[in-house]
């Protein structure tokens, strides 16, 4: 379960806080809380949903305030890392990530859970304490916003057709 999910939990955490050290802390915290209940997590799907939900809660509990700061200012270390990573990335990828960060967290988080975890809207609703309708609306609006930002031409063409 650690090998299967640690990387995706880390990614989910990163998309919450944009801070690599914090993201790893969150993954460690999540597993620390999960060990106690390990035996009870019978099927793999329940365990996966469980882990992502715990990470979401831990983040809310520990880092909500820090996140505000993190969003306000990107640390120098983070900037350096971004530059290094950016070299290895396509321009498109960088643009898409920036567009993701530009989305408000309530839209970004359910989208990340869907794309990364493959969760259904109903499952995401359970995990984030939202209604299924709200999740459906947020992920589709997030996709529209991303495509509009990255492909303004194609978007308007589709709208006309």
């Amino acid at each position: 379960m650690v090998h299967a999910y640690a990387a995706d939990l880390y990614r989910f955490a990163y998309w919450k806080c944009r801070d690599r050290a914090l993201a790893e802390d969150l993954v460690q915290e999540t597993y620390a809380r999960a060990w106690a209940a390990w035996r009870d997590l019978r099927d793999e799907k329940a365990a996966k949903q469980w882990l992502f939900t715990i990470l979401h809660r831990e983040h809310a509990r520990l880092y909500e305030r820090k996140q505000m700061q993190a969003e306000a200012q990107v640390s120098e270390q983070e900037m350096e890392h971004l530059m290094r990573v950016a070299e290895a990335q396509t321009q498109r990828n960088v643009e898409l990530r920036e567009a993701m960060w530009a989305l408000p967290a309530p839209f970004r988080e359910p989208l990340v859970l869907q794309v990364l975890g493959g969760f259904a809207c109903e499952e995401i609703a359970q995990m984030l304490g939202l209604s299924e309708a709200a999740v459906m609306q947020r992920v589709s609006r997030a996709r529209r916003a991303l495509r509009k930002q990255l492909e303004p031409e194609r978007d308007s063409m589709e709208r006309r057709s």
Partner: protein, 231 residues
């Protein structure tokens, strides 16, 4: 299905199209284009979301768990061998029937980790409560004279359950329903300043959590007049 509906569905959950949606895309060239373009976008999106994760992370998670246990292992190593054999024999018999200690610490930690649940003021209705308890097969027989201040789905032992907070005359009680966790006897334990009782339900079990055992006993008795856990 029309084009508008298809596109809305595709943007909501691109990998879970319904048979009707697939049928529409097969018959409508413009939506087939849209479908292909969105699939291409989804591949880019997945690539963007997949930020690099340190491959050693899983190893560090496991290492931390081992370190935490190592210190205690050294001290108790020898005694533990003897104890383990005795404990295994006893617990093999008992474990099937009673909730295990790890569950109580997990439940106490759950409540301790979510102080927002105590502060909430959602003023939920009795039908909300009835719906939340229905997965456990519990039934409200008489309305509770209290304020149902919090109901949310939460991860609990066994899978997902409901986290409920009710303010009754004698104090505040937290309920954690565990529809997939079977216990056969009621058991109470105090952990980290929380008194936790686990009771069997028609389906799975429910944990009642209060600030002390005295308060728990009082609140549990009040609830018993209003909720049937095992009918």
């Amino acid at each position: 299905m029309n084009c508008l509906e298809f596109r809305r569905l595709k943007l909501t959950d691109p990998n879970r199209l319904t048979p009707a949606a697939l049928e529409h895309a097969a018959a409508c060239p413009s939506c087939a284009d849209f479908n292909g373009a969105q699939d291409a976008f989804e591949r880019e999106l997945l690539e963007a979301v997949n930020v690099a994760a340190d491959p050693a992370l899983a190893a560090r998670v496991l290492l931390r768990r081992r370190l935490k246990h190592a210190g205690y292992r050294r001290v108790f190593a020898r005694a533990a061998v003897v104890l383990l054999i005795c404990a295994a024999l006893i617990s093999a018999g008992v474990r099937l029937l009673t909730p295990e200690p790890a569950m109580f610490s997990a439940l106490a930690a759950h409540v301790a980790h979510e102080p927002n649940a105590f502060k909430a003021d959602e003023h939920r209705t009795h039908s909300d409560l009835a719906a939340a308890l229905s997965a456990s097969g519990a039934r409200i027989v008489r309305p509770i004279k209290g304020d149902i201040s919090y109901i949310h789905p939460c991860p609990v032992p066994g899978g997902m359950g409901k986290h409920i907070v009710i303010r009754i005359g004698a104090g505040t009680i937290t309920l954690l329903t565990m529809p997939n966790k079977n216990v056969y006897f009621r058991k109470v334990k105090t952990h980290e300043g929380y008194a936790v009782a686990v009771l069997p339900c028609k389906r799975g079990s429910v944990a009642l959590v209060a600030k002390s055992e005295a308060e728990l006993t009082k609140l549990e008795a009040q609830l018993r007049d209003h909720v049937q856990w095992q009918t």
